[in-house]
Symmetry: C2
Subunit: 202 residues, 2 copies
């Protein structure tokens, strides 16, 4: 059983968080899910609805998998030293470190992606790349795997990435099974990214 700590902050993007957590949650014998924030309780998403954090960053890093979503709130959180310090520590202690969309800006700003290959949302690419000049940013990829770091493109790419991460941990057959339960057409080729072209990056 791997414990997933999913960071949320004001202005997180709903699907960045709950698309991947759905996929992991369907394997409830393999993963437990905890929403983590600076303070426990309601945290409002960029779309309006709030999620409730059950743990805080003050509880210390104790997750096998650190999961960092994106959203408009990342523009503020890249300046939040306390949060970035927690991300750096939680990433260090993790077996896997995942991000969706502009969540990779937070990983980059925390310094944990230096020298690594990573990707991000294709509409916010230039801003994210500025947060981590020592990161090898990949302009065209649905998601990128580099060691324990698995970073995805924007919003719905997180679901394909989560299934890719499940394939790494449990094999592709398990990932296919989860996709079937969710009635989800998994795009399993991580290099296939039609949105890079749509948004002017390829």
């Amino acid at each position: 059983m791997r414990r997933i700590g999913a960071l949320i902050f004001p202005g997180f993007e709903l699907l960045d968080v709950f698309g991947p957590l759905e996929m992991f949650g369907l394997l409830d014998d393999a993963y437990s899910l905890t929403l983590v924030a600076e303070t426990a309780g309601p945290v409002r998403s960029g779309q309006g609805p709030s999620a409730c954090a059950d743990a805080t960053i003050g509880d210390g890093p104790a997750y096998d998998i650190l999961f960092v979503p994106g959203g408009a709130g990342t523009r503020r959180e890249v300046g939040n030293t306390r949060l970035l310090d927690w991300i750096a520590g939680a990433s260090e202690c993790s077996e896997f470190c995942l991000s969706v969309c502009t969540g990779s800006a937070l990983l980059a700003k925390a310094g944990v992606l230096d020298g690594r290959r990573a990707t991000t949302n294709k509409m916010a690419f230039a801003w994210v790349a500025d947060q981590g000049p020592k990161v090898h940013w990949v302009r065209q990829a649905r998601w990128v795997e580099d060691g324990k770091f698995i970073t995805s493109s924007g919003v719905s790419a997180g679901m394909d990435m989560a299934l890719g991460a499940i394939a790494v941990m449990h094999g592709p057959e398990t990932a296919e099974k989860v996709a079937g339960w969710a009635e989800y057409s998994w795009q399993k080729d991580r290099d296939l990214d039609s949105f890079a072209k749509m948004h002017g990056l390829a």
Copy 2:
């Protein structure tokens, strides 16, 4: 601006709710999103994380769009008369009434789908159909539109349905634009449903 009231209950399915709400939320000039529950505050999903209801069913139905997700909790809620009465009233007052996955079991049990065509999760089909013997259940469809009622197949089908609903309200170009923002490959043919066969319904 249309107000969406998204019902949540203990054991709701994460992606059933937040996949569609992401799509509507990206059009923040067109839709406002409110999570509604029997009591305000945290409501735990079937996968573990909680969302916070900002409104209760006691506040009365005041939504242009009623949105009902599925999840394991529907097995209990089909016996919840107070909730079903609210669904019937909120559906009556709505311009559109949407469901994802086993959410259509709640609509059926509330009586609002009688004589209508509707669909649901392909793994729970027989149980859902039993909740509404007067409903014309469609075994193979990504989603079904019948008047103001738009019901989708399981979990991730909700995102395709939401984009279909946006196409009905704002035109297909707007739906395509939203899908592009979310880096989502919209499956826009509502009759194309490979999961019906996978789960033995076709």
